[in-house]
Amino acid sequence: MATATRPAPAATTTPPRSVVTRAAAAVAGLAVAVVLVVAPLVSSPYINFQLASIMVFAVALLGLNVIMGYTGQVSLGQSAFLGLGAYITAYGVLNDWPIALSLLLSAVVPAAVGMLVALAAARLRGLALAMITLALPIIGVPLARRFDGFTGGSQGQVVSWLRAPESLGLANDQWRYYVVAVIALVAFLLVRNLVRGRIGRSFAIVKENEAVALSMGVSPYRTKVLAFTIASALGGLSGFMYLAVVQYTSPETLVFATSINLVAAMVIGGSASIVGTALGALYYVLVPVLAGQVNSSRTALISGAVLLAVLFVLPAGLVSLPRRLARRRSARRGTRTAPHDTADDAATPTSTDGSAPAVPAPAATTTDQHP
């Protein structure tokens, strides 16, 4: 770890992020946006289904990242809120609710449930909180089977809704993709804003150190309840999106395994990161598909191997890849690794964090000070 005790000359004038990095990010963002708008127009319904699924799970992951990535509270119950949102939406479709009402309730009801759970559970710490969230899908699945008047029991609910308006000339898969993409975009923008300012700082300090949070006027309890409520609302919203894309929900939607896979995808993408959330969704949807194409009977095994490989190479998730590459490049050039001193070419090669010096220092064994 490079430790600075005195002002480094290069640090005084550099802005937080270099202009080059910003420009690169802007270009990349624009390219992604263009692809996301154009791709469904030229792709098969199957591809569009996968693209729309990425949007669905991106929002589920976004919620998980709020409570777990940003606020540091382990949640193993996100699938329960996804399932609840999907069932509420299905109920709305079958009872001819306006779509706006389904959309609203698919987020508000899970938010209320999540808030109640958090009000009771957020006083608990660490594993205890995780265990309570774990109970949600475990209780939720039999409940979904039992209350078949609402859920359709084990068969689930098949719905047929959200058809493309004829005037648009879009196929249903294209229309549904655009609907969920817009919802995802709005959700991502809101959360991105939220985690940047005052509320985001309160999330981060609750994750880092509750004693400091308390001393700065942040109630860890209230903060956790807020974060869990937001996570549940987004989980429910992703359930609405799920039903839009899949047109079917059953107790399978909320199984515990989905929660675990979401946690894995969050870590793979990069926790406490908006871009990482999107990358996590890509991983969540695409890796099983690609693994299935490699060998359909070994899907889980291949997915697991990819998970391990990514975690070994990039413990901070896919989102850390550019930083890792930049670090490697600067390490090879022999400059220091801190982002602010790229101009500091004169620095010694031995001061990089953790990397071995290129030339071993002369051994000092002859001047050993110890008696």
């Binding site: 430790t3 600075a4 937080p16 809101l190 150190n209 949070a213 700065m216 006027g217």
Partner: protein, 267 residues
Amino acid sequence: MTAPPAPDAMLSVRGVSLRFGGITVLDDVSFDAPRGGILGLVGPNGAGKTSLFNCISGHYQPAAGSILVDGTETVRTPAWRMARLGLARTFQHPALRLDATVLENVLLGAHSWLPGGPVAWALRLPTTRRHEREARARALELVERTGLGWAAHTRADELSHGLHKGVELCRALLARPKLLLLDEPAAGLSHAEVEQLIGTVRAVRQEFDLTVVVVEHHMGLISALTDRVVVLDHGAKLMEGTAAQAQSDPRVVEAYLGKEVGAGEPA
């Protein structure tokens, strides 16, 4: 038995006792911190100084006693409400977000007075953004006047321990406290850094009309800064007086020698 709180005290501690299991950590401690003054709190390791801070800041719940901050009884006030009552503190072991910049760390200090809830933030309302900009400007100002301006956009994990202490001080000052508790602010600092710290504390006390309570083993700092010191030993108040009186008091000398000589204590 215990004296009534002094009317001009920013902080009045009366008969505070704290126990963990069967162990008495604080035993009937009483003292006042006069408004606008700098009070030293000294004593050997394990005397209970940090625990006393934790009682004042609401992190610990005393078994008995009363604590008044600017005339308000706060013993039952949750710790997170203390910031709004004008209390800020630093920690003996600086606790920063190492993955965040100095500025981001300091900005947390604005939490208690910065307006805007989750909805306002999610929507990035213009007023919310304006308040954030103001907080940022203020944070930068503090960071610059404590000599950390060059590091404002540097990640905390690239800085030394001594600089972390400075960041913590800025974070506490950004909360606009009336009463500031500093827990061993000079521990691990170089001589030059201690000199700078003394200057900073003096200046901000004057400018922000602060009352300061400082726990410190560095007798140079205590002598230079404090008007009075309270000496704790084994959880009880041993004596109270000027820094010079404390240093020449045989009981204080014995309390320190009974353990180890105070200066250069391990964390």
